[in-house]
């Protein structure tokens, strides 16, 4: 139905465009005045007046209709039932009613549900009729109003451009809305989570075993013992430690390789080497992370295991080392191209001054260029760290699932992102503390990366200002 309405609006406003365009020419000719804008602006003016209010109504309607219908049905249910039903139960009945109306309800429908479905259909048809009438009135009414204005030779261009600017502003506000949506969705579930689990138990607890939360039923009040156990099930320190540890291994690989390749490409490489070397290294950044994960799990992991076992070491097949090494490779291009950029931005005069004092090239780089570029390099490393802790697929595929506090790189560890994926893949129950824990972890991750990015971006920008 919505599609039909939208098609109608589109067709009508499209034809209004031509109507407006031809009408202004005709009117201007017959009444002998000069239009205040080009004819097609009058076309746009008319069609925008037709389409926009109607579209707005359709949008608002489709957002609010389900809620209103649900409210009506549920209040109807509450009226007929003698003793009060709890909200979850009502919700379930509502879902059943909806399913039975659309004909995909399996199982035997009770009298209540059949009646509800009938009512549901009734409400839907009322809503639909009302919507069609409203939209038709709006489209035609506004078309007439705008047509009148055209006849009075209104400032069509100003009107059209005003709307255009509003469209532009709302497009750039989408980014703000996305951030707001992220914060809202993370906070919504996290607040529920922290109402069950103490915030400090989460942040500083040493044991992570969310599967324990399944034991207790959240709708029943917890016994003291259960509550204590639950509070111990969500200690995120092992996850923070695992994340940090794997990121540390990754940085051990990527910082030296990335930094030295950045220096080489910026300072030593001939233009032809640079022309080919840089894009090839940047291929590493373009490879999807799932490919790295596959590589880590099927090639690097077993390889480290065989080497370790031949040396007589106990190596887990999902070692932190394998995940960290591969993640390090993934991060190399971020560090190398960013540090390449900041090194290139160091003014040539600093280098020449150093050469004039008789320093060799490497001495110049070590003593003059690098210190000058340091804020930018640190910024790029921080950006890389934030990338490493937010990286998901490599650790999901190559690091372990069991949370343990360890600093043995050959042992398996788990990370924040792995746990989020493990909890949320498959069926979830949104009332369980386990599911909410994933959102709390997501919030922690978001805040952590936000702080790192903020510092890094400031460092890089400050450095840029210094030499610009």
């Amino acid at each position: 139905m919505n599609i039909l309405i939208l098609a109608f609006i589109a067709l009508f406003s499209f034809s209004c465009f031509f109507l407006g365009k031809s009408q202004i020419k005709k009117i201007a000719y017959s009444q002998k005045f000069k239009p205040k804008a080009l004819p097609h602006f009058y076309g746009f003016y008319l069609s925008l007046w037709c389409a926009l209010p109607a579209l707005l109504i359709v949008l608002l309607w489709s957002i609010f209709e389900p809620f209103i219908v649900k409210y009506l049905i549920i209040s109807g249910l509450e009226k007929i039932s003698i003793n009060s039903i709890d909200p979850d139960q009502l919700n379930l009945i509502y879902q059943k009613i909806k399913a039975s109306y659309f004909g995909n309800f399996t199982g035997i429908a009770s009298e209540q549900i059949k009646k509800g479905a009938e009512q549901y259909g009734h409400f839907l048809s009322i809503a639909q009729g009302a919507k069609v009438v409203l939209v038709l009135t709006l489209v035609i009414g506004f078309a007439l109003v705008a047509y009148k204005k055209i006849q009075n030779n209104t400032h069509a261009r100003e009107g059209v451009e005003f709307i255009f600017k509003i469209v532009l502003i709302s497009c750039s506000v989408v980014a703000v809305l996305t951030t707001a949506g992220i914060i809202f969705s993370l906070l919504l579930e996290s607040i529920k989570f922290f109402s069950q689990i103490n915030f400090f138990d989460f942040l500083f607890g040493l044991g992570w075993s969310p599967q324990k939360a399944f034991v207790s039923d959240t709708s029943v009040a917890l016994s003291a013992k259960e509550a204590k156990e639950l509070s111990k099930a969500f200690g995120a320190v092992p996850l923070f430690a695992g994340t940090g540890f794997i990121a540390f291994i990754a940085m051990c690989v990527s910082v030296p390789i990335g930094l030295f390749s950045g220096i080489y490409l910026a300072e030593y490489a001939t233009p032809s080497v640079r022309k080919f070397g840089k894009p090839i290294i940047e291929i590493l950044a373009g490879i999807p992370t799932v490919v790295y994960g596959f590589f880590a799990a099927l090639t690097v992991g077993p390889f480290i295991k065989t080497i370790g076992e031949s040396l007589g070491l106990a190596v887990s097949s999902e070692s932190a080392l394998a995940a960290g090494l591969v993640m390090g490779v993934m991060i190399i291009p971020f560090i190398s191209s960013l540090s390449d950029d900041v090194i290139n931005a160091v003014p040539q005069s600093l280098r020449e001054g150093s050469y004039a004092l008789g320093a060799t090239k490497s001495e110049t780089i070590k003593k003059v260029v690098l210190p000058a570029a340091l804020p930018g390099i640190i910024g790029s490393i921080l950006l890389a760290v934030s990338r490493a802790i937010g990286e998901t697929m490599i650790v999901v595929m190559a690091a372990g699932l069991a949370a343990k506090l360890t600093i043995n790189p050959l042992d398996s560890t788990t990370t924040i992102t792995t746990q989020i994926v493990m909890i949320l893949v498959g069926d979830q129950e949104f009332t369980s503390a386990k599911t909410q824990a994933a959102f709390a972890l997501g919030l922690t991750l978001f805040v952590m990366t936000l702080i790192l990015n903020f510092i890094a971006l400031r460092a890089v920008n400050k450095y840029r200002e210094k030499y610009d």
Binding site: F164, K165, V167, L168, I169, C171, S172, V174, A175, V176, T178, T179, G181, I182, S185, L186, I257, G258, F260, I263, Y264, L265, E267, G277, L284, G286, I287, P288, T289, V290, V291, F294, F295, L298, T299, V329, I332, S336, T360, K361, S362, E363, K366, L383, R387, G390, T392, V396, M397, T417, I420, V421, L424, V425, F439, L445, F446, T449, N453, L457
Partner: protein, 420 residues
């Protein structure tokens, strides 16, 4: 220390420093090489499949067809029985166990292959024809040389009897490698020999189209606003900070956004490429806005001033002159952003695009998987046939990414105007 000695030391330090740089660059290049080599050497096998030649006797008695068969008669043929009879004829198997082992050398779909063949070649009825039927994954791997045969029978996937059949078929020249059309046409399956990435490719395609439709116009208009119209004030700064931060937010957080808002609040259908596309669009948006702004900024102010001078309004000067000139840059930025979105896995896992989907999706509203998610799903299964398929999927994925990036680079070099 004499002057010469010190100089020598300094020069050798210089050489060492340079060598570190070369070693690092080489190490990075080596990683690219190993990765690509590994994927290609593992995955190239998946593009062909092993087929066994079967002689089908399509006489009417065998097929239980009357003299003038109707459409219904064809539907009523017991294809399983018919195919089984022909398979058992290929090698003398006596006991039930042997018969079973012989049958398991063929793809679990052999019945449907024979059915499709007969129904699409009704003119061959009454003749004897040769038909190539897909072999089971274990025989396929055996034929491709991925299984060793000199280990004890218990540890082998292929039994001694099956090996005997294999050798017999080899000698008779009845085994051949043909192009694996299932890889591109089929959806997922539990059996490696009939599993394909057709469903995943369509799923990826739909999500990318949804992502493009949403993100490109919004990103372009947002970039136009920020670069051309926005006044310098706190609100504009706030938007800019937001965009820069969003570009660096881990992708999994966008998955949580999709799960929390799109699925739970707006109740959009789970596991569909529509939701996947919207989530990816929100993620790609800032990554497209940034290059779009850069290319708008690169258009020299004289263009704007020229337009304004001949009486254009601000909007006209921007939309008629600046944006068309910036198009090559914005388009290539968009394509690169979409390429990143194509390889993204984590957010799709959270919105349920990891379901086991056998059906090839027909619309963006159908449950589907996507190429990177298929890589993740198959890498979890231990069978040798799936390892090969995973690598082939990666090859396809990398192929698409390379193609998109080269188009972006080509478009920029070909159409971008250089301002002097």
């Amino acid at each position: 220390m004499t002057k010469e000695q010190r100089l020598k030391k300094r020069y050798s330090a210089e050489k060492r420093f340079k060598a570190y740089g070369i070693i690092s660059v080489c190490a990075a290049l080596l990683f690219v090489g190993i990765l690509v080599f590994k994927v290609f050497s593992e995955g190239s096998g998946a593009f062909v499949k092993t087929a066994i030649q079967l002689e089908l006797d399509l006489s009417k008695e065998k097929l239980n067809l009357p003299e003038k068969p109707t459409k219904e008669d064809f539907e009523n043929i017991d294809f399983y029985d018919f195919a089984q009879q022909h398979i058992l004829k290929i090698y003398p198997a006596i006991t039930t166990k042997e018969k079973k082992e012989l049958l398991t050398l063929f793809s679990s779909d052999f019945e449907y292959e024979v059915k499709d063949f007969i129904l699409s070649n009704k003119n061959l009825i009454g003749q004897k024809v040769f038909f190539k039927i897909t072999a089971a994954s274990d025989l396929d791997q055996m034929h491709k040389g991925n299984y060793t045969r000199d280990i004890p029978e218990e540890r082998r996937k292929v039994s001694n009897f099956q090996l005997k059949i294999y050798d017999f078929l080899l000698k008779e020249n009845k085994i051949s490698k043909i192009f694996n059309n299932y890889l591109f046409s089929n959806g997922d399956s539990r059996n490696p020999e009939i599993a394909g990435i057709g469903g995943a490719m369509l799923g990826s395609f739909f999500s990318i189209i949804v992502c493009l439709i949403i993100s490109f116009p919004i990103a372009l208009l947002a970039a136009v606003y920020l670069e051309e119209f926005a006044p310098k004030n706190a609100f504009t700064d706030f938007i800019e900070i937001n965009i820069n931060n969003l570009a660096a937010v881990p992708s999994i957080v966008f998955g949580l956004l999709g799960l929390g808002i799109l699925l739970n609040v707006f109740e959009l259908p789970r596991s569909t490429s529509l939701v996947g596309g919207i989530t990816l669009a929100l993620m790609t948006l800032p990554r497209i806005i940034i290059p779009c702004r850069a290319s708008l900024k690169a258009v020299p102010p004289s263009i704007r001033e020229g337009a304004l001078a001949v009486g254009a309004s601000k909007v006209q000067s921007v939309m008629h002159h600046v944006v068309p000139l910036a198009m090559p840059g914005t388009l290539s930025g968009t394509i690169i952003g979409l390429a990143q979105a194509l390889g993204e896995t984590a957010p799709l896992l959270l919105i349920g695009m990891v379901a086991f989907v056998v059906q090839v999706p027909g619309t963006p509203m159908d449950p589907s998987s996507s190429l990177p998610v298929q890589v993740y799903l198959w890498s979890e299964s231990a069978e040798r046939g799936f390892v090969e398929k995973t690598s082939a999927t990666i090859m396809m994925l990398l192929g698409f990414l390379i193609a998109m990036n080269s188009i972006a680079v080509y478009a920029r070099q070909k159409f971008e105007k250089k301002w002097i």
